[in-house]
């Protein structure tokens, strides 16, 4: 490794960016350590190097940094994370330093936190069903191992509870063990307590690694957190053959930090002040999920993000939806009505479910059943709207039946206790029970043979 260079003094500081006149032997994207006169250190990386300047992005706060007396040390390579299986059960900061007062684990290997793109030729298409025990998800938006499926949430909505329930209950049909990596960006201490409790109660604590950047931690550090979490995930999944579930919360805080760097650099913003490359930047995180041919492990990602003003067209949920393999959207209206989990069925989608469900995987009727359930619910919703206008008594008999179906669907199928673990068979049976509210002739998305076998005459 090349010797590190130390530069004394900074030319100017703009937001999280430092401008240095020294440029010799500086590598693009190189890691730097900033030492202040009082002995504290901060980390950063080289964002640009040219004849006149080196621009350094500081991961921590730049407040109280001075131009003179500050030393900047260039470490000669980009940020590499030391990884090992000993990290399981441990808690780290958002930039990967121990946060649990235990000495750092012994490192087995170092990896660049930016990773490398997976060769699409080498990707194994995900198709192993994960049972979450939550009917809405298992039946309508099934998750498979290696999928990236975010939760679009909003202020005060119970996304953590849902994720907690998934952690408690998730089993894979052939039931191999999972490890969990929790990357927290700008979350509150309360949320961390909640998750710790979930991990402890479900007995998975020793198989969890936490990287915590809390609300009061430096915002710039958040730019590292998901990359660090995924670097460890790649190691555990693809070198150690584990099935890794990566939770990233909250991607909105991440995106805000990115926006801050971009505006400090004077870049021309795209929508809502976010940089034009937000899509690509998100993709460099989300695409680090999946499976690789000939390798046992997998990375499944559940990123959580909050939709500002519950607006799904806001760049953060919008660009996420363009990259991930579906989305689970939470609904304030259902939540206010006391429905848990408040999943907004019509906006949610799992794109990879088609290969993970059906005969030999869940049950033969699952594909048709979920599509029918969805379509019928969609119809009941539009009838509900109509009823608001013309009055329920004006509805035809069939339309009234749809309303009844819609009610049962929300109150008996979607609604579920957060300790209630429904096996897939139970979920599917329940779906038939509710669907059988409707006459057979309305089930135009289900193969006749399947209808004959499963339809229940009530």
């Amino acid at each position: 490794m090349k010797e590190s260079i130390v530069v004394h003094g900074i030319e100017k500081i703009i937001g999280p960016l430092l401008f240095l006149s020294h440029t010799e032997h500086v590598g693009y994207d190189e890691l730097v350590v900033i030492e202040t006169p009082d002995g504290t250190t901060k980390n950063g990386k080289v964002l640009e190097v040219n004849k006149d300047y080196t621009i350094v992005e500081v991961f921590e706060n730049t407040s109280r940094l001075s131009l003179k007396g500050t030393n900047v040390k260039f470490l000669g390579s980009s940020y590499k994370l030391g990884v090992s299986t000993e990290m399981l059960g441990r808690i780290f900061s958002g930039s990967g330093k121990p946060r649990d007062n235990i000495p750092p684990p012994i490192v087995e290997e170092y990896f660049d936190i930016n990773g490398s793109p997976i060769n699409p030729v080498k990707r194994e298409y995900p198709k192993d069903f994960i049972q979450t025990g939550i009917s809405a998800i298992d039946c309508l938006f099934s998750i498979v191992r290696g999928q990236k499926l975010p939760i679009f949430s909003g202020f005060g909505l119970p996304h953590n509870k849902i994720v907690g329930q998934i952690i408690n209950q998730a089993t894979i049909r052939d039931s191999e063990e999972m490890v969990i990596i929790f990357g927290a960006m700008g979350v509150s201490q309360d949320e961390v307590y909640f998750f710790k409790k979930v991990f402890e109660e479900s007995g998975v604590y020793q198989r969890v690694v936490m990287f915590l950047n809390l609300a009061n931690d430096p915002p710039m550090e958040r730019l590292l957190t998901p990359r660090i979490a995924l670097t460890l995930a790649e190691y555990l999944a693809f070198k150690e053959g584990m099935h890794v579930l990566v939770l990233l919360s909250d991607m909105s805080s991440y995106a805000e930090a990115l926006r801050e760097v971009s505006s400090s650099k004077g870049e021309i913003p795209s929508r809502k002040g976010y940089p034009g490359y937000l899509y690509t930047d998100f993709a460099s995180i989300y695409e680090r999920a999946g499976r690789i041919k000939g390798v046992k492990g997998s990375i499944t990602q559940i990123p959580i993000l909050s939709m500002p003003n519950d607006d799904i067209t806001h760049p953060i949920p919008d660009l996420t939806g363009y990259i991930t393999e579906g989305q689970i959207v939470l609904d304030r209206e259902l939540h206010n009505k006391g429905i848990y989990p408040p999943i907004k069925v019509l906006d949610s989608l799992s794109r990879l479910m088609k290969d993970g469900i059906g005969e030999g995987k869940t049950r033969e009727d699952h594909p048709d059943l979920s599509s029918q359930l969805y379509a019928s619910y969609s119809k009941s919703k539009s009838i509900e709207e109509l009823a608001l206008i013309i009055g329920q008594q004006e509805l035809s008999k069939l339309d009234q039946t749809y309303l009844e179906f819609g009610n049962k669907f929300i109150n008996r199928f979607i609604k579920q206790d957060w300790k209630e673990d429904r096996p897939i068979e139970k979920t599917l049976d329940l779906a038939w029970e509710i669907l059988s509210t409707l006459p057979k002739s309305e089930l135009n998305r289900i193969n006749e043979k399947i209808i004959d076998k499963y339809y229940m005459f009530l």
């Binding site: 693009y28 640009e48 004849k51 030729v121 298409y125 490359y277 899509y279 695409e287 660009l319 990879l352």
Partner: protein
């Protein structure tokens, strides 16, 4: 003149270098000690601006830069079919074999296999005169594609030597004597990707590209040589629709560009296509498919190049006389790559940060579609179909707007349809096919003389229904007169029984044109008969709605293609039931 220089600045994918006095715009350079591949995109006195096609992490000032003094080009020859390349035509399968699951930097592997022997059968003899685009001979490239080795551009002369045999693509397949010089002809040629390949004439379009998708083929068809775009918010079905077309359309060759989209979608194609059979040839689909994959996590600058790499390959097969379908998913990601590079160049942006030349770049790309008479005198075509991903599903944004103005066929995806799982979620009110006017004759000759009439009737019903739906929201369906309720009723049958088509169902995924027409005719005939009975014979709508035949009409779509004539029985039964009403 020097072809060497050194780095003076690095910022993301943009590297500046000086000292390269022999630098030319769009030439390829090797950047840094790792020899990363880049392209010169701006020249300013002594400074070269280089767009680097790989991750630039770790580059230092003063590292060397060398220009190769050739423009960014692709290799064109046998071995393209069935392959998958990255945005600058690096062979991903080979890279995977050599380097495993992840793509490292600085990889240099030839696009085409240098060790594979191809059997060559000449089609010209010694002393024959040849000009550019003429066919020298044939190579069986895959089970279904007979590759034509063509005389390269600008080569005119006489065949000096040529013979049948098994050759490596680097071997001399022939010698052409031209102006006293002997020009060796290899198994491949190279072509700069940013320059369209020449042809003799553009020809008017007259034949549909048959996709097997009812809403497309019957209502909004695209011609061979046409250009279409499919805009839609996330999850509305762009990729599914385009992949379905890649699978079942009757193009001879498919070039599929995964431009800044998901890696798993590429692996889906790679695992599915080698198993699926082309309904026409019975041969597996991979035998006619070429994939360019520059997924969203691969370098952005190579994403920008991927579109050109793909279209150049498509033109090359067009020049051999094939009908090529080029699919680009998504052109918005390409436009974003343009924007990102433009931003780094500190160009003055136009709308939403896009460079002012966005519209002209889009136009240049779509302009490379078309049905042509090739230099060799054959007919060939490139059909372009591009996905557009509007941010926030806002169709007024620049990429969507410019693209809609350029294309002849629009398949507009509708969020509400997608959210009610009506797939393909192609909106039947806003979509259009300007190509249909040129295809009327074809449909009339090959399908039925009344094709245009039935299509028109159905579209009119759907438009009326659309207006009625607004009314229903206010007064409810029961408030409408019987005739209008019939329109709503029939439109529902068109929507459910015809327009909606499940791409995942083995029977449904592909519908032959004959069956499409029979289905449509049956529905429209039903409407006409019902109207007649209601107006002339005072039969009520409720009596009509109760007819058992309706269930069968709704399920016509599940009749297998080869049994499409059974639909006639349904229509006979319909006559019968109507008669019984009287």
């Amino acid at each position: 003149m020097s072809s060497f220089g050194e780095i003076i600045s690095v910022s993301g994918s943009l590297v500046k270098a000086n000292g390269l006095t022999s630098a030319k715009m769009n030439d390829i350079v090797e950047v840094g000690d790792l020899k990363l591949i880049g392209e010169i995109i701006r020249l300013e006195s002594d400074i070269c601006y280089i767009q680097v096609y790989e991750e630039t992490s770790g580059l230092h000032l003063h590292e060397p830069v060398m220009t190769k003094e050739i423009p960014l080009s692709v290799e064109l020859g046998p071995g393209l079919i069935g392959s998958i390349f990255d945005g600058i035509q690096r062979p991903l399968t080979e890279i995977g074999k050599k380097f495993g699951g992840f793509i490292p930097r600085g990889v240099k592997l030839p696009a085409l296999d240098r060790h594979k022997k191809w059997h060559f059968v000449p089609k010209v003899k010694v002393n024959d005169k040849v000009k550019p685009g003429d066919i020298l001979g044939e190579i069986k490239e895959s089970e279904v594609i007979v590759h034509k080795l063509m005389t390269p551009y600008k080569v005119n002369g006489r065949i000096k030597s040529i013979g049948e045999g098994d050759f490596l693509i680097d071997d001399n397949f022939a010698l052409i004597e031209s102006n006293g010089k002997e020009i060796p002809i290899k198994g491949y040629q190279t072509w700069p990707v940013r320059i369209p390949r020449p042809y003799l004439n553009k020809l008017p379009v007259d034949t549909p590209l048959i996709t097997g998708q009812r809403v497309i083929d019957t209502f909004f068809p695209i011609s061979k040589g046409g250009k279409a775009c499919i805009p839609g918010g996330f999850g509305t079905g762009k990729t599914m629709t385009l992949q379905t077309i890649a699978k079942w359309s009757d193009a001879t060759i498919i070039v599929y560009i995964g431009c800044g989209e998901r890696g798993n979608e590429m692996s889906d194609i790679l695992s599915e296509f080698p198993k699926l059979e082309d309904p026409r040839t019975g041969k597996i689909l991979m035998n006619r498919t070429i994939i360019i994959a520059n997924t969203s996590n691969m370098p952005v600058s190579a994403r920008e190049a991927s579109i050109y790499t793909g279209i150049t390959i498509a033109e090359y097969y067009r020049d051999q006389g094939f009908d090529v379908a080029l699919i680009a998913d998504s052109t918005s990601r390409w436009a974003e790559a343009l924007r990102e590079i433009s931003g780094r160049l500190e160009e003055i942006p136009a709308e939403e940060g896009y460079p002012p030349y966005l519209a002209s770049r889009l136009a240049d790309f779509y302009e490379r579609s078309g049905k042509v008479e090739t230099l060799g005198g054959f007919n060939g075509s490139v059909t372009i179909m591009g996905a557009v991903s509007p941010p926030g599903s806002d169709f007024s944004e620049p990429v969507t707007q410019y693209t809609i103005k350029l294309v002849k066929t629009l398949w507009e995806l509708d969020r509400d349809l997608a959210y009610s799982r009506h797939y393909p979620a192609i909106n039947w009110i806003n979509s259009f096919s300007k190509d249909y006017d040129f295809l009327v004759d074809w449909f009339s000759t090959n399908i039925s003389e009344d094709h245009a009439e039935y299509r028109q009737k159905a579209l009119e019903l759907l438009i009326k229904d659309n207006n009625l739906q607004q009314l229903i929201k206010i007064i409810g369906e029961e408030g409408l007169p019987e005739q209008e309720r019939l329109i709503v009723f029939i439109s529902n049958i068109i929507k459910e029984g015809f327009l909606r088509q499940n791409a995942l169902d083995p029977i449904e995924r592909y519908t032959i044109l004959e069956k499409q027409f029979m289905m449509l005719k049956t529905i429209i005939d039903f409407y006409d008969k019902a109207t007649n009975l209601m107006t002339k014979f005072h039969i009520t709508l409720d009596e009509i709605i109760d007819l058992p035949i309706i269930e069968e009409i709704k399920r016509m779509k599940y009749i297998p293609n080869e049994k499409y004539k059974d639909i006639k029985k349904i229509s006979d039964k319909m006559e019968e039931e109507f008669k019984n009403l009287l």
